[in-house]
């Protein structure tokens, strides 16, 4: 085997330009497979991270009657905040309407403590002193309602008893989050204001857990774990991964075609060499092995080459991220403006194994022919 390796290396080293070309193509496959998977994993991680940081926290306790997809449940889904649980960030949800330029828009009001630390929402802007009702809205809702920072708009709501009230709210900040589900059709205000406006002091619709939280045993609040909350994202990314894998399978096919092509021709060209090996007493299996190792050697060299230019490339991309267009949020999935790929250990090792294995197989296929070779005609170079 040592001889085979040595010979193989010498042979393909001697082949010069041809080797370089094969190795370049194969190294592309390495880089692209790792890159594409890294992007998918990065997206997955980013979508989860954003959703955790902006919306889910470390799980949520939802009022037993609250259904986030059924706005009609909002009316009756509120209860006093559990005592002695400063780790829980209360959010009180209430329905209301705004009237920009005489049009009525139904919106969802969300009250949150201005000093909360669990979610990334810039709630400190809810403390703006100069106005009675400072609120923050997301960039998407700002666009669809045509509201800007500093704008005032009329808000109409009903308190817990159903009494109408109306007042002017002031847009004190517009936040830029990748999570559409905390943005579309929603207005965030200080929970103290909302308590007082709706006469529901110290009540909440849902409670967001932080890192240190332990679930609460309560018949009033249903616990939804972070994992359950994130399952939709997992499903969508899994679908995306399949579609991108087809792409790199095609690229790998091109690289393997290059190796196959080289093998076929080198076996044809090197008949005399094969004849000589056999004549010198090498078993045919060994010769087949030699050629197979030669072929798979391309993948080893490609691995080196790939790491040579791939590593800085990966590090660079990891640093600057990949810009993503304003892909529309129909699916309600958090997509950042930039995705920062993640290259997992198992991804890199898995890719190496797949590529080396695949190139060994395509090197072996043409080399099998050697086993049937008649050494005499091979020595004469008479095999077609």
């Amino acid at each position: 085997m040592k001889l085979a390796l040595k010979l193989a290396f010498k042979n393909i080293y001697g082949a010069g330009l041809r080797t370089i070309l094969n190795v370049i193509v194969l190294s592309f496959s390495f880089v692209i497979i790792i890159f594409l998977n890294g992007v998918m994993d990065g997206w997955n991680a980013q979508a989860k991270k954003d959703t955790i940081e902006w919306e889910y926290g470390y799980g949520q306790l939802r009022h037993k009657d609250y259904d986030p997809y059924d706005p009609y449940t909002i009316l009756d889904s509120h209860a006093p905040i559990p005592e002695n649980r400063p780790d829980l960030t209360p959010i009180l949800i209430h329905q209301a309407s705004i009237y920009p330029e005489g049009r009525m828009m139904n919106i969802v009001l969300k009250g949150i403590p201005a000093d909360q630390q669990t979610l990334l929402l810039p709630t400190s802007h809810l403390n703006a002193q100069e106005k009675q009702y400072p609120v923050i809205i997301g960039k998407r809702f700002a666009a669809s309602s045509k509201l800007n920072v500093g704008d005032e708009v009329l808000l109409r709501w009903r308190d817990v008893n159903g009494t109408y009230d109306a007042n002017t709210i002031y847009i004190s900040a517009i936040f830029d989050s990748n999570v559409p589900t905390i943005d579309d059709g929603q207005i965030w205000m200080n929970i103290n204001n909302l308590w007082q406006m709706t006469d529901q002091v110290n009540e909440a619709t849902l409670l967001v857990l932080n890192e240190t939280s332990t679930p609460l045993e309560s018949t009033l609040w249903n616990f939804t774990s972070q994992k359950e909350l994130l399952s939709t994202i997992e499903e969508i990314i899994a679908t995306k991964k399949i579609s991108s894998s087809i792409m790199y399978i095609l690229l790998l096919a091109i690289a393997l075609l290059a190796i196959f092509d080289t093998q076929v021709l080198s076996i044809f060209r090197r008949q005399k060499e094969i004849g000589t090996y056999v004549a010198l007493g090498m078993t045919r299996r060994k010769v087949v092995g030699l050629f197979t190792v030669e072929g798979s050697m391309y993948s080893i060299l490609a691995l080196f080459l790939a790491s040579l230019y791939g590593t800085p490339f990966f590090i660079f991309i990891k640093k600057i991220g990949i810009p993503v267009a304003e892909a529309d949020q129909e699916v309600g999935l958090a997509i950042a403006e930039r995705i920062f790929p993640i290259y997992g250990f198992s991804l890199v090792i898995g890719t190496v194994i797949v590529v080396v294995l695949a190139s060994t197989i395509v090197s072996f296929l043409p080399a099998r022919k050697i086993a049937k070779i008649n050494p005499v005609s091979a020595l004469k170079g008479k095999i077609q």
């Binding site: 009609y72 009237y99 049009r103 009525m104 159903g162 009494t163 109408y164 109306a166 007042n167």
Partner: protein
């Protein structure tokens, strides 16, 4: 449309209003009592039409409403063709709608009651208010004002219980005929939310009665919803079966 009687009813249960402002010689209590006497009857049958001004075209919906006291209302829609035969029954705080096309009775409750009735500026809930104004508001007379060439008492009603839709109402009541001519509904914050204008006051069965009412949501653009009373009969005999859910289908 039963809303007509409903809206009118909103003004007239003023039998025991406490008196606050003493700026006029007649007390708020007495004014509302006179409105009562003028406009309320044990039973009523109202034929009316509601004109909803849509963005593209306006619709006129004709209906005939029967009511007994403040808690039993039955309305049958007469036209247009699509609406014909639809019936609505309100008993206390429950509301059922019957549609002949599907032969179904559907009960509306909770959030559904906050929806607009027939695309008008009025919600089902607006029609559902059960309690007498005097039970939920404290009234006072603010001044005497001239409105459309009529002398009116300008009265303020402030909520004295918590669960009311409108915290404050301001009413203008004709000093001679004791008919409300205008009402404004305010939010807690003092913002004007809705405005009702009543006009074309006619004498019917010896009572003065407004036969045209415009109801407008002040926060929205548009010209609101008109109600026109074509015919009103006070204290007729109304069969009990009209106010039974089981007879909605007949």
């Amino acid at each position: 449309m039963n809303s007509i009687s409903r809206i009118v009813l909103l003004f007239i249960f003023g039998s025991s209003l406490t008196l606050q402002g003493q700026s006029t010689s007649i007390t708020a209590d007495e004014i509302l009592k006179k409105v009562d006497a003028n406009m309320i009857a044990d039973t009523q049958i109202v034929s009316s039409e509601m004109i909803v001004y849509g963005k593209r075209k306006s619709r006129t919906i004709k209906s005939k409403g029967y009511s007994r006291g403040s808690d039993k209302h039955f309305t049958e829609y007469l036209s247009p063709e699509r609406e014909k035969g639809t019936k609505m029954l309100k008993l206390e705080d429950r509301l059922w709608i019957y549609s002949p096309a599907t032969d179904r009775i559907i009960q509306l409750s909770g959030h559904l009651l906050r929806q607009s009735v027939m695309g008008s500026d009025l919600s089902y809930e607006d029609m559902m208010e059960e309690r007498k104004l005097t039970d939920i508001y404290t009234a006072s007379t603010l001044s005497i004002e001239e409105l459309d060439n009529r002398q009116t008492y300008k009265m303020e009603l402030l909520a004295k219980v918590e669960d009311v839709s409108y915290y404050k109402r301001i009413l203008w009541i004709d000093t001679a005929r004791f008919v409300p001519l205008k009402e404004e509904l305010y939010a807690k914050s003092g913002k004007l939310l809705k405005k009702t204008s009543l006009s074309e006051v006619k004498q019917i069965q010896g009572r003065w009665y407004p036969t045209k009412i415009n109801y407008k949501d002040m926060l929205k653009d548009g010209q609101g919803t008109d109600f026109i009373v074509n015919e009103i009969i006070f204290n007729p005999a109304i069969a009990d079966r009209l106010f039974l859910k089981s007879t909605l289908k007949n």
